[in-house]
Amino acid sequence: MSIEKKIDVDLSSFNLDAIKRAAYRCSNRFAFDMVIAAQTASCTLIFDDDKSSDFVELAISVFRKELLDQDLRQSIRAETENVRNVILAHAFSLTGLLKDEPVQGD
């Protein structure tokens, strides 16, 4: 037997990637199931039946918080993708060999 809690997530607020990542982070607290219909993801959080109601409430609030955080992370990723590539390209470029660069600590 298990405890099931249903949460509907509006897909115009959070995309699927955010929901999956949030669920993954909570995978030590509950198992996760999801059904998509139109603009809504119907999520089912499945708890072991020996979990207290405090545990369940906390897990749900962690999940919601995590959704917000994932949304924020996506904004950051989208905005910084280009400059991230520029930085990585500079960092690993072959012009100016490693040993010519002023290295911290040398």
């Binding site: 100016g96 010519d100 660069e101 002023p102 290295v103 911290q104 600590g105 040398d106």
Partner: protein
């Protein structure tokens, strides 16, 4: 404080239109004639040897010039020039009957001013910039270098901003390396010209055996740094200049003048250096000198060093934590904390160190650099007190 320049009390035998001259000062009456022809003899007795280019005497010795007057140019120096010694080099300007001592044999820190022009306008500038054509200054320096003793330990190149002379500055460094191969050179520069790859490569190509450039960095916050130096883009170009210099393995010192506009973020700057500029050779934290623009901006700048002693300690702790060689200049030992004292260096200037009456009983007086005379005169900490080490 030494007055390196001034006006002659009296100048004879060199009309106003005569050109400037650089002369070695001597008190050696047995100077061979061939050398005496280009030297200035400093008289302190009546019996004056002949054959010198110019004869000098301090005010109280002016009667000694009577004998030679009319046969050779003579000049009377004010009492403030009493520091002049055999071997020093003086520039004589007949146009306004003035002189400047360019080189002192007994100084550990001869600084040569290369220009008064600058692309910064620092709130606390001790050498306020003048936008004048000063190629002639470089002419004089280029004539001065060959006259310097090869035993000179260290030479400073300052300004204004020396790199405004561009290639001519680099050439001067190369000339100095050839003529004074064992003399250490310390350049003061805002570092921005070194952001130019060709310029910095030319600088590095000199391969000078003992060359360091001291570059001011006043904050980890670009806005604050640019504000203190009163120039847009200063921070960016300065950092780029530093990176280029280190890329080419040139020695770099970071200098921070401590005052109310720079002290708050000093620990953050220390962390910034530790994270981003760990490869610099040393950091100099400097007390404020009340000269130049500082006096006019005193209200913005002044903070009693005693009041910032724990901020200074935090910054020094951080730099020491990152193992960056660090020195504190121009702070009296009684206004810094115990942990900072080992980092204090007695003032780099060998100008007469001045002390307050209250310092007479201080146990640390011998190690303490004391005060700039401008500090004694205008502003110093309210917390100067003798330290008792029992």
């Amino acid at each position: 404080m030494l007055a390196l320049s001034g006006k002659f009390e009296e100048l004879r035998g060199l009309p106003e239109g005569s050109p400037r001259e650089l002369l070695r000062v001597t008190t050696n009456r047995d100077t061979p004639k061939v050398l005496a022809r280009a030297a200035a003899y400093l008289c302190d007795t009546a019996d004056v040897p002949s054959g010198f280019r110019v004869y000098l005497a301090l005010e109280h010795n002016r009667r000694h010039l009577d004998e030679i007057s009319g046969k050779a140019p003579t000049a009377v120096l004010p009492a403030s020039a009493s520091f002049l010694r055999d071997g020093d080099i003086i520039r004589l300007s007949p146009r306004n009957a003035s002189y400047r001592v360019l080189f002192r044999v007994h100084s550990n820190h001869n600084g040569l001013l290369l220009t008064e022009r600058c692309n910064h306008y620092c709130l606390m500038c001790s050498q306020p910039p003048r936008d004048v054509n000063d190629d002639w200054v470089m002419d004089d320096v280029e004539r001065l270098i060959p006259m310097l003793p090869i035993t000179t330990r260290q030479l400073g190149f300052t300004g204004g901003e020396p790199t405004l002379h561009g290639e001519r500055f680099v050439d001067l460094l190369a000339l100095t390396k050839r003529l004074l191969p064992r003399t250490a050179i310390h350049v003061l520069s805002n570092g921005r010209r070194f952001a130019d790859t060709r310029f910095v490569e030319g600088y590095a190509a000199i391969q000078h055996p003992d060359l360091m450039v001291g570059i001011p960095l006043y904050s980890d916050d670009p806005v604050r740094h640019n504000y203190v130096v009163q120039a847009d883009n200063a921070f960016d170009e300065t950092i780029r200049g530093i990176l280029n210099l280190k890329r080419l393995k040139q020695r770099v010192e970071l200098r921070v003048v401590l005052h109310r506009q720079t002290i708050d973020r000093l620990p953050k700057l220390a962390e910034y250096i530790g994270r981003n500029l760990l490869f610099v050779d040393q950091v100099a934290l400097m007390g404020l000198e009340i000269t130049g623009f500082t006096r006019g901006n005193l209200e913005k700048l002044w903070i009693d060093p005693y009041d910032y002693r724990s901020t200074l300690e935090s910054a020094v702790d951080i730099l020491a934590g990152y193992r960056v060689p660090t020195a504190v200049y121009n702070h009296q030992l009684c206004v810094v904390t115990d942990r900072v004292r080992p980092f204090c260096v007695q003032s780099i200037s060998d100008w007469k160190n001045e002390y307050l009456p209250v310092c007479a009983t201080c146990d640390l007086r011998a190690q303490c650099g004391g005060f700039f005379s401008s500090g004694v005169r205008y502003r110093h900490s309210d917390h100067i007190r003798p330290v008792v080490t029992t």
